[in-house]
Every structure is written in structure tokens, then in C-alpha cells.
Amino acid sequence: MARLRPDPTFYPSAKQAAAAPPEELAYLAMLSPNQSRSDAIGVVDVKPGSKSYGRLLSQIEMPKRGDELHHFGWNACSASLCPWAAHPHVERRYLVVPGINSSRIHILDTKADPRRLELVKVIEPETLARKTGYAAPHTVHCGPDGIYLSALGAPDGGGPGGLFVLDHDSFEPRGTWERDHGPQHLAYDFAWHLGYDTTVTSEWGTPSMVRDGVNPELLLGGKYGNSLHVWDLRKGTHIEKLPLGDEYQMTLELRPARDPRKAYGFVGVVISLADLSASVWVWYREDEKGGKDGKERKEGKAGKGWKVKKVIQIPAEPADPADLPPLLQGFKAVPPLITDINLSLDDRQLYVSCWGTGELRQYDVSDPFKPRLTATTQIGGIVRRAAHPASPSKRLNGGPQMVELSRDGRRVYLTNGLYSPWDEQFYPAGLESWMVKLETRPEGGMALDSKFFLEMERGVRCHQVRLQGGDASSDSFCFSS
């Protein structure tokens, strides 16, 4: 039943959402890579001062094994306030949790007891395939008129990947989102500029290109994704392809500016074949550059005129081959591997995960074209193996990977698992999984919270974190200011 007043976690603008109260719970994807049990969504106490602070309160196992839970998201969020499709009286209540390997999509209810979730529906892979033609569902975003998901490809393991929509009420897949794929074949993440009726998508690989680990032949041949695609959000048609260049491989996480007037966003690129460096690029509408007051062109249909520019490059670190996994020994260097990035709701701070070198970097991106490094925290890493202050003598593996940020931008949550088959290649000794938290300062700076060090039991790996009530990457906004 609909609410009488809007859901209190919906905010018209990102600026208002940034003033939201601190989260008390976090939801965590927990995988069982050896499939000895089912994957689960855990609930973590993140309320400082609580007796169980930093600990797992409960977990709900998925009905079948081998899902490979990855990313997940809410059924509804601030996008419900968008004026052309307003339905503010639905609830932010259900977590939509896809299994990237199984193509099963689970719907979990957080309402009855937010600390103990309930499974209320499963969409089977056959249903997804029949209704959308897609498999390997990945990113989930609550949209103005439905729940949007990306998918890596087709049920046969090939492409194209793309987007599909779940119905708000029934959670049934409504069908393929695109009307015209144009030259797009690979898929991964997607983002919106709701103010410009524009969608941006990124590229990883089709299910068969990623399921068995990174394929060195494909990688060295530059076959993984290295472009962005711009789409007309209203029509579902391809507008233009933005190639980054042949040497760049894997354009993954997309973080658009949260203010709908700003027509730019950030994308992390995992690796360059030229020198193993990693990079962050800005995509932007041509009139955005130099027009920060937004007076140039804030109206007009979705269309061409988007560009992409490298703004951060992080070099590989030389290393003794003995410290490196077989995949990297020939290169005598450890690549940073930017596998996730996140942007604060005020569009000011960008967090960059370097999963290979074991670093989390914080940049001031007030000017998106001139990022300024403001802090670096080291934890884990292929060679570095930096420790956590809670256990200073224990060398950690894995590195900062999924990075989630509170709505007020004061707290960062990190996990270290990437994707089971890939974890084995970069951390062959066996990735020991953890979740940590950092406190940040708005003017720049961050530090690990010594009281928050959640180690997974052996054989369990954690991936994406979602925060109760929403986080920096969960919501989209239709109102500026």
C-alpha cells in the first residue's frame, strides 16, 4: 500500500540528500566462491557506539548456490520525485539482488526487520532470457519510471549486453530497454544525466569473456571494452560512441555528477596495455567545459557533442617477480587496477580504488578537469599487503575494491573482493576478505577506523555495500541545487 507522505529517504536534490542522518546499517554481498554454500546478503552494524558495531548481525542465504552476487540496489529512491513521473509515496523497501553468474534476480524485503532480511521473490534466468534476451545482470539503479538493470550479455554467453527494466510494482522484467544498439556490443555499468535525458553506458566483456577469469589473449589483444556509449534516455536509442583509445582496457564504474545540471561524470579504467597504468576519465558535454555557471546550454534534446578526457593516471609500481602472481611476473610491475570509484553527493570528492597496489585515493574534483589528490590510504595490495590498525601485524591481501560512501560524505566503506575467477588470478594464495571503514574530512583527508575491521570467515568474500536509507551511488536526482 502506498504511503501518505513521501518516503523520508527520498530527497529532491543531492544537496538535500547530503544532509541526511547517518546510516546505522549496511547491506553486504557475501559470496561463497567454492560454492560450498549459497551466496548471502549480510547486515552489518555501522552505528558508532553500538555494542555490535562493525559486526555482522545476520545474513540471508540465496535459495540456490553459485549465484556470484555482485552489485545490487534499491527498488525505489529519490528518482521517484522526478516531476514527469512522480510517485513519491512508494517505499525504499526492497533490495534487488542479481547473481551475475546464475542470472537469477532476488528481491529482498528490508521492512519487517531491517536487521534480518526476507526473500520475497526470485526472477529465474529463463524468465529474464525470455523477456529481455539478456543474461548476467549487473548494475541496479532505481529510476523515475522503473527499476533499471544492466546485463553483460546474452544467455549463450555472447553479446550484446545492455539494459532492461523491472516493473516497479511486480518486479517482472518489462523487456529490453534499447530500441537501437548502434555499434554497442559490450556492457557493464550505466549512469544517467536525468537533467539531459541522457544515459551513459560502459564496457567490460560478454559473459563468456569474463566468466573464466581475465583471458590474457583477449586482454593483450585489446578485446575487452574501451569505450563509453551515450544514449537517448527517452527513446532508448544510441547517440554516440566515445572511444578512449586502443590501449585502454575495461571501462568500468560510471559516476555521473549528482547535480542534474552538470553534464559530466567520471569513469575508472582498469589498465592500460601501454604501461599497466590505470586511469580516470571525465566524460562531458562539450558546452560543460568552461561553462560551470551552466548558462551556456542547459536545454535542448539529448544529442551528440559528448567528449571524454583522461584526468587521472596512476602508474604501475615496479616489483620483484617473486612477489607477483604468474599472470604479472613477466611485467615485473604491479598494476594499480582501478576497479571502482565513487563520487560524493556534493560532486566534490572522488574516491579511487587501486585493487592491485592496495591504495584508496581521495581527490578533490571541484574542478572535474583538474583533480587534486588530497589523501591516500594503503591497505592490502598484491605486493604491499598493508595491515589494518586493528591488527597491525597481519599482512592483508586483496585491496580496496568496492567503495561506498555515506550520503554526507563523511564515511567510506571498502571491501576487497572483485570477481571470484579474477580474484584467483591476482591473489592466487587465496583472497582473504574484509570490510573496513574510513572517516573522511570534507576539506580533504581520511583515516581507517581502527574499531571497524570485519573479516569474513574463510571461504567467504564480500563485494558491494549498500547503506540503509541510501548512499552516494544509490540515488538519482531530478532537481538541481
Partner: protein, 220 residues
């Protein structure tokens, strides 16, 4: 004739009532103003919003007029009542965004005047705004029969009463436009959107109940 001053006032008030609903236009006008960074965008949105709303009301009145050629007024009123109750109950259970056959909600943040008018037409129609006006326009069979010496509602729409039908749509829309414009400008210039979070009462729910009540009132 049905158009006494009470009827006109009721039409105006109903229009004003439609204008209060954030989902019916003013919020869109504010959002366009914020997106484009100028108050002209707020004012510019009001015209197309009003046109779309007026067309939705006119379409409902015209449809009733055409159907009225075939059906006696009493039957037409019962049919209207059933539609009102049905739509109200449907909206209580399920609320859908209007689309133009694509299955996607119609609209976006880069709409031009024509699209904004279409959006407003779709919103008003799908909310049964036109249907809600019908009971006021149709009048009661006894007085209509006395005044016009006919039992068919078609005459209410065609000829002189037809002019009345058009004026009904215009009067209703004036009420709608005044309220929509007033709220949009005050929110854009002064209030801001902070209060939306707490004060946006579920008017769809109220609306659905209003549809049912209107429908019942027509029959009883």
C-alpha cells in the same frame, strides 16, 4: 440551465484542486526552472501545461457529447459514474505512469512546449480529471429536459450548450492555471523544495477516493 453561478464556481474550484497536485504540473515547472537556471523557464512551462489540461477536459466533455447522441442523459450519467468509480478503485490499487504505447513513462527534463502539453494532457486524462468535470457539465436529467425539452445530452455540447461545454473547459483550466502558476512561482522564488519531502500528501490516494465519491454522488 445547469450553468448557474454555483456550477461555475464549482468548475473553477475543481480546476484549482487539480492544480494543487504536484504531479499535475507545478512541480514540473519548478524543475525546469531549476534545470535551466532561469525563472523564464517556470513561466514558459505554464502555457503548455494549461493547454494540455484544457484539452483533456475538452476531450472528456466532447466524448460525453458524442456518446450522448446515442444514449439518454440518464444512461450517460450512470456510465460516467461507473467509469469514475472504476477508475478510482483502479487507482487505489495500482498507479501507473501514462505512456504513449512504449511502456515507458512519457516525459523527461528536456521537453519542449508541445511535449509538455502532451504530458499535461496525459496526466490529466489518466487521473480522470476530465471525467471528474462531467457531472458538473451534464447537469441533472430533469432540469436539462425542462430547459432544453430533450433528453439527450448531445445538445449540451452542440450548439449554444456546446459553447457552454467549451467555456466549462476554459473556466476549469483558469482555476487550474492560477493555482499551478502561483505555487510554481512561489516555490521557485521563495520556498524551495525542502518541504516537498514532508508535505507532499499522497494526493493520488485522495484523488482516487474523490473519483469514487464523485461517481457515487452522480448516481445517488
Amino acid at each position: 440551465m445547469i450553468y448557474d453561478s454555483a456550477s461555475w464556481t464549482a468548475l473553477l474550484a475543481l480546476g484549482a484542486g487539480h492544480g494543487i497536485n504536484p504531479a499535475m504540473g507545478w512541480l514540473f515547472a519548478v524543475a525546469l526552472g531549476l534545470q535551466r537556471g532561469r525563472r523564464g523557464a517556470v513561466w514558459g512551462a505554464l502555457g503548455p501545461l494549461a493547454v494540455g489540461h484544457a484539452l483533456a477536459i475538452a476531450a472528456a466533455i466532447l466524448a460525453a457529447g458524442v456518446v450522448g447522441v446515442i444514449l439518454p442523459l440518464g444512461v450517460l450519467k450512470t456510465a460516467t459514474a461507473l467509469l469514475l468509480v472504476g477508475l478510482g478503485l483502479f487507482r487505489l490499487v495500482r498507479s501507473r505512469h501514462p505512456s504513449l504505447g512504449s511502456g515507458r513513462a512519457y516525459g523527461g527534463m528536456q521537453v519542449d512546449g508541445r511535449e509538455l502539453a502532451i504530458w499535461s494532457f496525459l496526466m490529466a486524462s489518466s487521473h480522470g480529471a476530465g471525467l471528474m468535470v462531467l457531472p458538473l457539465v451534464l447537469g441533472d436529467p430533469a432540469s436539462a429536459a425542462q430547459a432544453q425539452h430533450v433528453a439527450h445530452a448531445s445538445l449540451v455540447v452542440l450548439g449554444e450548450p456546446g459553447w457552454n461545454g467549451a467555456s466549462a473547459a476554459v473556466v476549469h483550466t483558469v482555476g487550474y492555471l492560477l493555482v499551478t502558476g502561483l505555487i510554481a512561482v512561489v516555490v521557485y522564488e521563495k520556498l524551495g523544495l525542502r518541504f516537498l519531502r514532508t508535505m507532499w500528501v499522497n494526493l493520488d490516494l485522495v484523488w482516487a477516493v474523490a473519483l469514487v465519491v464523485t461517481g457515487l454522488a452522480v448516481v445517488l
